[in-house]
Every structure is written in C-alpha cells, then in structure tokens.
C-alpha cells in the first residue's frame, strides 16, 4: 500500500499530529466556552445543592427570580432555561442535571412544550440559540444525543469554537476569559455560587406596544390545535424520569399578554397533562388584557414580563413553595 519504507514512522507521526490537534482543540474549546448569561449561575452550583429547579424557555428566566425565591422560601432555587428551549432540550438537560443533583421539585414552563420552537426559528437563531441549551452539559454521549435531536445535525453547534453566534466577540473575549479560568483554578474560593442563579432581570426597556397588543388580539384560537407527537413523547419522558427519581414535577404557564393562539396551546397542554394526572399552574389567567393583576408595565413584550412582572410571579411562586414543600 505504501511506497515508502518509513511506514511505521509515518503512522506514528500521523497519530502524534492528531493528538496535538485534539489537545489544541480541547484547549481552544475551553477558552472560548461562552458561559452565557442563562447558564452562568447554575453551572457553578455545588453538587446535590438544588431544591427547586425551574426549566423551560426564555419565559422561565424572565418570569422567576431564583435568588429572591430562595430568600423567601429557604429552598435553593435555580433556573435552567434558555431562549426558545424545546421540550426535548428540557428533557436532555434534566437527564444531565440528575447526574449531579437531586431536586425536590422540578418545574417545567409551558411555552417550551406548546411551541415547536425549532420550526419557527430562522437558521441564525437555530444555531445561536438552540445550541446554547447544550452548554450546561459536559461532552458525553448524552450531549451528542441532545445535539442530534436538537436540529438537523450539522455538529457545529456542539463546539463553541465553531458556533457562529457572536463568534467574533467571543474570540476577543476568549483571552480575558482564559485569565478568569486560571484565577478559578488557582483560587478555589472563586468557585462560589453565582448570585444571579441563571436569572436575567427583564427590565422594562421596551414595553409591549399597543400595536403588538392589538395584533395579538387578532390571533384566533385554533380549536384543532394539537401538541406535536415529539413534544408529547418528550413530556412523557420527563414525567417518567421524575417518577423514577421520585421528584415532584409541576408545570406552569408564565404570563403572556392575552393571545388567542396561546390560549389554544394552553388548553391543549392542560388537557394532555390532566390525562397524565398533572395540573398546570397558570400565572396569567388571561381574563382581561394582561391577566388578573398585571399592568402594562409588567411586560417587556407580549411574551415576557419585566422586572416588576417577575417580582409578582416570584412572590406567588414562593408562596406556593412555602405551602407545598416542607
């Protein structure tokens, strides 16, 4: 096969080359690891330290203030969510979390179940957002499974150094981050709980406009709305996983400005969950424009609450925790 008499020498060198490549790759991957605002908090939580885990899409991190809830309840609350997170990703994230944690309560937010988020994301978002959902995972077969199930698999999203979203900024940030990593390695005290706990305060920078509100009124309820088979399948998996690990599972609907299509989605998920013996806690009853008690200022847009809206939801949720968890 070879026309060279240096065959073993060539093979050793080739293997060595691949090893050098892998080492540099791993180093750069760690260097450019973008601990996003969503994950920064929960990544550094000590093992077996979570009491309440809230999972879902951006609506989850917009609606709950984990630090505030922890203070009010004494239950260590952490949010693991990211923009447009699908229920599939929620499942894979939960499997990952259960490797290190044993929460008393897992809360799954509704939007990620009802919406087929990957269907409406454009490609930029797909790679920018969908793969952020994998960031909490260490490289493992589970992560690859999650990546395969996330999108039409191109593999890029698994590796931070290949991910396009904000890449230039990340590359520039990499060196600064590298210094931070070194500091953490040499000073273990740096590995403290992050006060943000995966929560991003949704300050009311851009209130929902009346145009958005009026447009949302035109969305008619779809009586034939069906949850996708995939979403149902992964919901069942989540239920089974929590049952198996004897973890209390709850579902919540976070506030939205009244929107007929979201009502139909809510009804569908409610029906599905009732059949499975679960209930869903709706934090927006949608009986008037903003629900029962929300003000216009409580929203940043039609889908997300602002800091004041977050405080309201967190208060009610903390009260619920105090009443139900001992």
């Amino acid at each position: 096969m070879f026309n060279s008499d240096k065959k073993p020498y060539v093979l050793i060198r080739a293997i060595l080359f691949v090893m050098v490549f892998v080492l540099i790759f791993a180093f750069l991957e760690a260097l450019t690891y973008d601990r996003t605002k969503y994950y920064e908090g929960w990544m550094y939580v000590y093992e077996s330290d979570i009491d309440v885990l809230i999972m879902g899409s951006s609506q989850a991190d917009a609606s709950f203030d984990a630090k505030y809830i922890t203070e009010k309840t004494g239950k260590n609350t952490v949010i693991l969510s990211s923009g447009a997170q699908s229920v599939k990703q929620t499942y894979f994230n939960l499997v990952e979390v259960l490797k290190y944690q044993r929460p008393e309560l897992v809360v799954v937010e509704e939007f990620s179940i009802v919406e087929d988020t990957l269907a409406w994301m454009d490609e930029n978002e797909l790679y920018g957002l969908a793969f952020l959902n994998l960031d909490g995972m260490k490289m493992s077969p589970l992560k690859l499974r999650a990546a395969f199930s996330a999108t039409k698999f191109e593999g890029y999203g698994v590796f931070h150094i290949m991910r396009e979203s904000g890449k230039t900024e990340r590359l520039l940030f990499a060196l600064k981050h590298f210094a931070l990593q070194l500091k953490r390695i040499f000073n273990p005290k740096e590995r403290v709980l992050n006060p943000a706990r995966g929560t991003v305060l949704h300050v009311p920078e851009s209130y929902a406009t009346f145009e958005q509100y009026e447009a949302s009124l035109n969305n008619k309820a779809d009586e034939n709305f069906q949850l996708t088979r995939e979403n149902k399948r992964y919901m069942e998996k989540i239920i089974k996983l929590c049952d198996k690990n004897e973890i209390k599972l709850e579902f919540v609907k976070t506030p939205l400005i009244k929107n007929e299509s979201s009502i139909s989605g809510h009804k569908a998920i409610e029906k599905f969950l009732n059949e499975k013996g679960y209930d869903i806690k709706a934090y927006n009853l949608m009986e008037d424009n903003y629900g029962d008690t929300y003000l216009y200022e409580d929203f940043t847009d039609v889908n997300h609450v602002s800091a004041s809206g977050m405080r309201k939801v967190s208060d009610w949720f903390a009260e619920h925790i105090n009443n139900t968890l001992k």
Binding site: M1, F2, I24, E123, N124, Y127, E154
Partner: protein, 499 residues
C-alpha cells in the same frame, strides 16, 4: 454532501482508507459506489439521470468506435461511416441536452413564453415545471458529451469497461462542480495501480485545507453581506453596490476555486490528477487573458467543442465576431436559466470583441509613447481595468433579475452622500466594522498567497520544509478554518452547485 460538511470530513478518509486497502481490481467499484453515494446524498432519485447520461454516451462511444473500426478494416466507406457517426453523435447530444434543457431551462422558457404572450395581449398559461435542479447536471453532462466528441474525432478509443466509464462520468471529487475533465486525461488513470504516497498526500492535504479556508473563512463570511445588498436593491446606493460587486468578485472566486482545490486535493490523495481550473484570474491583464485563467475546464471545453467547430478565428472578421458571441452567450446560458447569465456572457463576449478590435490602436499608442508591453505600471493599469470590467459584469451575474441589475447599474452612476461616510455605508450593507476589517485582511492574505504562487509552488516549498514547520502551517490553517470559519448560518453550499 458538501465538501465543507462534517459528513465529507468522515466520508473522504473512509473512502481513501478502503481504496488503499482494496486490491486494484476492486477499486473502481469502491469509487463508483462512493461517487453514487456522494451524489445520492442530495437527491437519490436524480442518480438515475447520471446513469442515463452514462449509458447513452457509453453506447454512442461504442457505436462510433465500431464505425471507425469498420472504416479502418475497409468494411464501410467513408461517407456511410461519417453519416452513421453523425447519427450517433446527434443522438447522444440530443438526449443529453434534452435532459439538461428539461430540468434546467424549461422554467425559464415557460416564463419567457408567458411574458411574450402577455406583451402580445394574450394570457398563455403553460404548465409550471418546478423540478429541483439536479446538482451539477451541467458539469457531468458536458463531461460525458466531451467523451462522445473525443471518440467521434478519433482522439480516444471508446471505453470498453462500462464500470470505469461510469466512474469517469460520476467521479465524486469533481462530479458536482467540476473541473470538467476530459476522458483522454482521466479515464486512463483508472487503469493505473495507485500507491499511497506520503509526500503527495501531504501536498493534497494542504490544498484541501487552503480550499476549505477560502470557502468557510472568506467566501461564506462575505456571502451574507452580498446577499443583503443584492436582495435590497431599493435600499442601497452606488457606493454599496460597488463594494458589494467587489465583495462578490472575491466571494465567487474563493467559493469556486475552493471547490476545485478540494476536488483536486481529494483526488490527488488517491493518486488521480485532475486538471487545473484557475490560474490567478484576477491577475489577468485583459478579458481574453481572464478567460485563460477563470474556469479553465469550461472555457477550454467551449473552445474545443464549440468555438473551433464553428470555425474559430480562421474565418472572416464578421464570422469570428459571431463565433465569439455565440460561445459567450451559450457560456452564459450554461450557468443558468436566467437572462442575467445570458447578458453576463454577452457582456464578456462584447468585452473580448472590443479588446481585439482596439488592439492595433492600443499597440500603436504604446509604440508612439515608447512603452514596452512588459512595463509593470502598464500591467498594473491593464489588470485594474480588467478587474473592474469583470466586477461590473458580476453585477449581471449576481443580481436577482435583469430589472434589478439595471437598477443597480443605473445607481452606480449617481452620486451618494454615503461615499463620505464609511460607517453609514457599512451599516447599510449590514456589515460590522470588525467584519469589514476581517474581510479586507482575508483579501490581503489571498492576494499575498497569489503573489507568492506566481513565483513558486507553495506546496512544493512547504514539502521541502522540516516537519515542525509543516505542522505549524497545517495546524494554523486547521484552526483558522475552525475559529474563523462561518458555520451553520445561511446556505453554505457552493455557488456553482446550482449550475
């Protein structure tokens, strides 16, 4: 399966490994299977079209070969032989071109007929053929047709081995975007026993890396900006269009030459030599020179199988001008079913005619001014003018319609206050200052590499260096591709796939 996909990163080493593992007599089978697998990863059903093209051209080759043999054995007279050969060539051409026309040109023909009908006051409503264009159909059809012509001319013996011939038509490295190979060059290589050569593999690997760098780091990073400007014709101005045309010139070169580099490199590792397709085209000093450097396999195809049969330059000046225009119009049409491509071809034809007609005058002026043709400044000016003309023509090539192309061309000649603000211009192009600087640096790198290439072969130069230096270069390129590459955003397929 794109060359710039992870699938190909896995596919190629597996094929190469198996190729050198298998005995020679089974290798063509492996490559044929790999080639069909490669093609079918886009649309499995269209493999049938390559199979049809293969069978038709193979049979026509056999039949033409028989006629040649009959003539040489004295079993047939020249007139009958020629007549029969004409029939076989005509059959091969008409069936292949009919398939090509049906899939590629029927939508354009239907649209044109409907428009003409509307202009004449009618309302012609023809059936709408919306077939997915088979990837690379123009490339493999032309490659197969060149075989028919070569056998017809007696330049090669017809292939007796349908398997190897099928491999010639479908050889995966150059199947979907060329270079359009000649049977006399590629077919005999399938009979050679190839051994793995470390030095050759290293050089090929470097070529593949450079191709990938040009594609994912340069071309794909430019693409969103170009797409943005050309899809918002109303919201842009002369300055942004000039910049976009310049960027498109870089994008299309990096995109297409990258494909060629990866194709050549992939084939080279297995020992196959594929013809060059580019020779630093933007260094051309005239349009005629440009066509000797750009898409060489296609321009030489048109030269050999269209221009020369039409009479080439050994005819009257008028006829020669006609021949040139025919070749360039067909070349434009080959690129796609749109009037923009046809006009792009026509413009290049026109450039060439004007260049030839004005050559005596230019020579006289240079003589009067005692300027040597080898003068460097003159070379630079000629190169700049040629590049500008090529960029201008790219507008017709890239615009989404002829109407939009006309709007863009009109706006090139209107003054815009944006010329005074680079920030405003970049924001209109949806391009950040960082990305713009990055693109300029990439263009500079490309330019530097091409300047060095003019003097020496970089791959040969690298081959003579010690292994640590080679490793640094390989790893820098690999990590350049990984870190600076543009992944997963927008369409990352090669531009020439659509042809």
């Amino acid at each position: 399966m794109l060359f710039n996909s992870l699938q190909y990163v896995l596919f190629l080493p597996v094929v190469i490994g198996l190729y050198f593992f298998l005995p020679h007599k089974f290798r063509w089978m492996l490559l044929l299977a790999a080639s069909y697998f490669f093609y079918m990863s886009w649309n499995a059903s269209y493999a049938i079209l390559i199979a049809i093209s293969t069978v038709i051209t193979y049979l026509s080759g056999i039949l033409i070969g028989r006629e040649n043999k009959k003539l040489s054995d004295g079993l047939s007279d020249e007139k009958t032989c020629k007549k029969n050969k004409h029939i076989f060539v005509a059959l091969s051409f008409s069936i292949n071109l009919a398939i090509l026309a049906f899939f590629k040109y029927s939508p354009m023909a239907i649209r044109t007929f409907e428009r003409i009908s509307a202009i004449l006051g009618g309302s012609l409503d023809l059936p709408d053929f919306r077939y997915l264009l088979p990837v690379g159909i123009s490339f493999y059809t032309f490659q197969a047709l060149s075989y028919t012509m070569d056998v017809y001319r007696g330049q090669i013996e017809p292939s007796k081995h349908i398997g190897k011939y099928a491999l010639f038509v479908s050889f995966f490295p150059q199947l979907v975007a060329g270079p359009i190979e000649r049977s006399s060059h590629l077919l005999p290589q399938f009979d050679k026993v190839m051994k793995f050569d470390v030095s050759r593999a290293r050089k090929a690997f470097l070529l593949i890396l450079w191709g990938l760098f040009k594609k994912v780091v340069i071309a794909d990073r430019i693409a969103p900006t170009v797409n943005h400007v050309f899809s918002r014709v109303g919201g842009n101005n002369g300055v942004t269009f000039i910049l976009a045309a310049f960027l498109f010139a870089i994008q299309i070169y990096c995109d297409f030459s990258a494909y060629t580099d990866i194709a050549i490199g992939s084939a080279n590792i297995m020992g196959y030599d594929i013809m060059k397709n580019f020779k630093r085209p933007y260094f051309a000093k005239s349009i005629s020179d440009f066509w000797h450097r750009w898409h060489i396999s296609l321009s030489s195809w048109f030269r050999d199988y269209l221009y020369i049969p039409l009479g080439g330059s050994r005819v009257s000046k008028l006829r020669w001008a006609f021949n040139i225009m025919v070749v360039f119009l067909v070349s434009g049409l080959w690129h796609g079913a749109s009037w923009g491509f046809v006009m792009w071809g026509a413009l290049h034809g026109l450039y060439l005619l004007i260049g030839r007609i004005t050559r005596p005058l230019k020579d006289r002026v240079l003589g009067l001014m005692s300027i040597n043709r080898e003068n460097k400044l003159l070379g630079f000016i000629s190169g700049f003018i040629t590049f500008t003309l090529v960029c201008f023509a790219w507008i017709l090539f890239r615009a989404n319609s002829m109407r939009e192309a006309m709007v863009i061309i009109k706006s090139l000649f209107t003054f815009s206050e944006y010329i005074l603000s680079i920030n405003k211009t970049l924001s209109l192009m949806n391009l950040s200052v960082n990305d713009f600087a990055f693109i300029l640096l990439s263009a500079l790198l490309l330019l530097s590499v091409q300047i060095v290439q003019a003097k020496t072969s970089i791959r040969e130069f690298m081959e003579r260096r010690a292994w640590p230096i080679r490793w640094i270069v390989y790893l820098s390129l690999i990590f350049g591709i990984i870190l600076l590459g543009y992944y997963g955003v927008g369409d990352s397929s090669f531009i020439y796939f659509q042809f």
